[in-house]
Amino acid sequence: MTTLFAPVAPPAAHRIRIFTPGRIAAWFALGLMLLITLAPLWMVVKTALMQSANLYTESDQLLPSAPTLDNFIRVLGFMTLEESRALGGSGAEINFLRAMGNSLLFTSIIVVMQISLAAMAAYAFARLRFPGRNTLFALFVGSMMVPGVVTFIPNFILIKDLGLLNTMAGMVAPFCLMQGFSVFFLRQFFLSIPRDLEEAALLDGASYFYIFLHVVLPLSITPLATIAMLTGINMWNEFFWPYLVAKDEAQQVLPVALQTFKSQTAQGQPDWTGLMAATAITVMPTILLLVVMGRRVVESVQFSGGK
């Protein structure tokens, strides 16, 4: 006889006590870690909102005395060079609005192409029989083991020979066609879908491609979103390759533009308020992503390591 409301006393041995010294110490340590994580972000935002004239007097205060949006307006290119220099700008002409546009384009092209092509290949690997399937799949997975430090020189030479230096095409090329992890990840998911639906469609005379588009893909929205998000985050943050092939200002993505902005400042003090405004702008999409879909982000990242 069990009733739902019977008072169930937990066995004394592992009743959860909230205020043991150990737990308090652990909370304290965890709190400290969170503080260490958030403090630099706080200082970025604070500095971005600060007037550069106050840089020396209130650099280690936690709040700006006279907050201003001038730094953001300045680095987004909505100010003339003279105005900008008057406000402490280095005179370096960096247009973060354009860099942001480039970053968005770079990331979207890669996510859309890489995930579509990976899904196609993964479906073939999971469901279709063709000669060389297992060898090819092993090679694709093996490509994950090739470190970037081996391929970057030949890839650079290829892009250069194709005349694609300083172009969007050259920047996205190595990422947009194939990525071993995306293929591997989606194949695993496709293998887990029951075959019944596909076999029914096959008996109705549907082609494999039709089945892929109209049966398999609609069932795979969640894993597609997961892998798209992981790829998107990685590409938004990618520095090395765009730094090698697209240093021209017109093509720079955000991380490259930030690096350029920093290195263009003459000896002595960089334009900290401008730099931090640019940093804050670049951080924004990531924070937004976490606020809107935090759980999915956390689970995707955990999954990517737990395969």
């Binding site: 737990r23 969170l34 390591g305």
Partner: protein, 300 residues
Amino acid sequence: MANHAPHALSRTRRAETLTAWALVLPAFIGFALFYALPTLRAIEISFTDWNLLRSPKFVGLANYAAMLEDGKFWQGMKLSAIYVVLNIPLQVVLGLFLAVSMDRLTKSLFVKSIVLLPYLLSNVLVAMMWLWMLDPLLGLVNGMIDGLGFDRQPFFGGVDQALFTVAAVNIWRHMGLVAMLFLAGLQNIPRNLYEAAALEGASEWQMFWRITLPLLRPVMVFVLVTSVTGSFQIFDTIAVTTNGGPLDSTRVIVHYIVQNAFSFYKMGYASAMSMTLCVVMMLYTVFQMRVMKASQNDLA
């Protein structure tokens, strides 16, 4: 399928094969162009003398021989190795600590999001933030050190501090990721193991060493292999903060390779070093997997 005529069967099989190849083809082109051929080409380039202007000249093993004599190559390897040693143990311990604390204390998504946040920011961003935090003149950290009555520190600007600083910044960026990976692993450990151990009178400390840690082994192998090989290829943070300086104190191996390729235009020599680095990392990976018996699962 018994009532199908053999002819019809072979036709569906043909359609299947053709569809499969059509679906795989674009990804295969990507694989061939940007993974397979470049890997072979890197080996080939490493046997040449090539500055991209003249045509490459075959020099046999000369690049590899020069490499063994090159003090800067060894210095780069040494710095990368020191960096790994500074970086990994602390990152793993802190990540494990965070994971165990979160597992015990909270399931809050807010906490998890903050813990993971630094990893979601690019190396360049993180470098920029810490350049500001650690600025000798205006940075908050030096302000605090000064306030406590100690001398201001150069951090990125100090010959004997720069590499430590870069390592600290990367620990800050990665410990959250390591924590989330361990946390996922912890949640796969059956709770009844702990209940049984508690009934036997085991202490928390014993449970951690006897149950938690051994059962986290597969995650541990993954974390170690990816973070050690990743750290050995450290480049971004250094390109932004110290650019190899001061006095070459952060000229790690990948920075030296990139410098040879794109500042000195020694493509052959740079490739020879890349291949060597790749082999070193592969040997490490195999060794690590062997030592930790990565393929065995204690729960199975």
